[in-house]
Symmetry: C2
Subunit: 393 residues, 2 copies
Amino acid sequence: MRPVPLLSAIALALGLSACATTPPETLRGTGDLGVVIERAAGRVQVVEHSHNTSLGTIDGLGDLSHAHVAFSRDGRYAYVFGRDGGLTKVDLLTRRIAKRVIQAGNSIGGSVSQDGRLVVAQNYEPGGIKAFDADTLELLADVPAEYAPGKFSRVVGLADVPGQRFVYALFDANEIRVTDFSNPRQPVTTRYPAGKQPYDGLVTPDGRYFLAGLFGEDGVSLLDLWKPEDGATKILAGYGKGEEKLPVFKMPHLRGWSMAAGQAWLPAIGRHEVLVADARSWQETGRVPVKGQPVFVMARPDGRQIWVNFAFPDNEWVQVIDTVEKRVVHTFSPGKAVLHLEFTPRGDEVWLSSRDSNRVTVIDTATFATRKELPADAPSGIFFTSRGQRIGF
Amino acid sequence: MRPVPLLSAIALALGLSACATTPPETLRGTGDLGVVIERAAGRVQVVEHSHNTSLGTIDGLGDLSHAHVAFSRDGRYAYVFGRDGGLTKVDLLTRRIAKRVIQAGNSIGGSVSQDGRLVVAQNYEPGGIKAFDADTLELLADVPAEYAPGKFSRVVGLADVPGQRFVYALFDANEIRVTDFSNPRQPVTTRYPAGKQPYDGLVTPDGRYFLAGLFGEDGVSLLDLWKPEDGATKILAGYGKGEEKLPVFKMPHLRGWSMAAGQAWLPAIGRHEVLVADARSWQETGRVPVKGQPVFVMARPDGRQIWVNFAFPDNEWVQVIDTVEKRVVHTFSPGKAVLHLEFTPRGDEVWLSSRDSNRVTVIDTATFATRKELPADAPSGIFFTSRGQRIGF
């Protein structure tokens, strides 16, 4: 008997066999990965957009209504922010939960710092932001949004900007704040008075301008983060509900505001219009009539098209605006209750979630042809890893 | 004897052991990976910018002087274009050559199509472009740059733009061409007369404008790809060597032209200046004096800074321009013969190659502190996978 060769042979055979039990898709690039939120099931699907397939699901993520997702610098991990305050770090390669903490009572999202080392959550309850180590989810800093003794505001519109800073608005305190986490355990916060009841916000793709939509008055508060000492100014005073009091079925998501062709494209509130503003002067330059009250107004990455979805009762429709012609060039319905859309990084395709049709539809943005339909359980948000390489996501 | 449990135990033990022989770093995200060209050795280093380390090397890539790199849609593969016409598909995870073909006699680079399915090389000899299947490197189409019977031009400035199109210039034929690979085996090419001897080109980040610098006359040829029927126009007629005939030590790389803060920042030819032009009117708006003849003029991803390296004899220096103040705010030397620089996707750091100091230096762009120095054998180009998610790279 020659035990060594025998064992070697067994080792070889069994070794290969054991390795094969690792899902083969774990050894793969992460640049084409993404997650689809299945809100009712507390679950995400892991998807890939090279071949438009679903790779698997991950359960146990809690209340995913209004869930938001950010990504690690390397693209391997998704940080899923649940409405119930759960923050879950999901490994997209092994499709397992890597870490999970309950960090608040009511959370509406979060972002990753410029260097990838911090995950910051924005919370309604308790009102404020919290910073976590991106590897371990250890709490590094708690920054309450206290605006009067014992009073804490709900935080909205959180966005990462260069310099380890995060900018956000305080709905209950008429303020924009910038917190610098260059020293993560000793953050420094600067306060800027803003308009009444900022209800959401975004930064321009270069991280320079923070814009907060106002609920308590018409207009938008603008803070130039390259000249923050000038403070917030009010722009687009005609923006908002305007002279008539229109019923608002769903507040638009300002994160969907888009910069394209030198213009900012904004969802009107209550009106069946998309507003166009010059991105240098911030003056309104036009309005495009659309089919319903816009919710997301998102530019294809090259800026030639703007895609719009709508509030109830028009939420089965999607419209496409040509940014040169400034008019709708395509109207269609991918399914019932279209909640979100996400472009592939270079814009050849767009993924749309139809909650009440239980599917995700992949559309060719050049021809508007349907490339694929993927089943999903009441899908809402769709998020691709390329967000991890951009400012303000 | 109970063979089954024994075998199971052996399988478990040996299986784990066998799996562990796979390098642990193969199971990882690819969003923070990159390659550094070691030009003299015909080798690339695989690096990662989360922790600023080198992961390994891959040999056997031929003549890598003036090498260019593009990336697969999923971020796993690098396509390395060698000067000798070699096109090598490198697996960044296993760090092996996946495929290699010699596709031309003299090549200066290439790009990947919007959908990720095509790799297109631009060649001097034979003059033209060729399209390959991104998976297999099978030749799908050969598009000679024939401009008169039997005469073929050198191709420069190739860039991918939306719609499976590639735009490029013909040095010997005073033309810009656009080839549409929507049907990869039956490409359709459109020709646009341009200025004299276009020697390099680039597209704006949205893929809308193609600009070709001219060697045979002062100025730049501009083609609006959203209105190509208008043809190419000449802009910046004062651009170029100008009234005095200055010695030009190295032609600048136009790929380095940058859009930032609503302006285009261009290397002057021969002069110790960076030119600034309005990105709407294409009129010159200023010039920034710098230390030498600029080669690469590259914007930090947020557009607040422009980093510049120089031709011999000033090629040990790097300068940083503040785009609001329009002046140099920092001058330093990371080493001798600085050939290239590459920003991390969100701009917290920049990597610089110093060929004659045999090192790559990682600099914090906020503080200008040196974060890391990595040894490298005569390094030239540095390329991060995030290029695969952008238009025009």
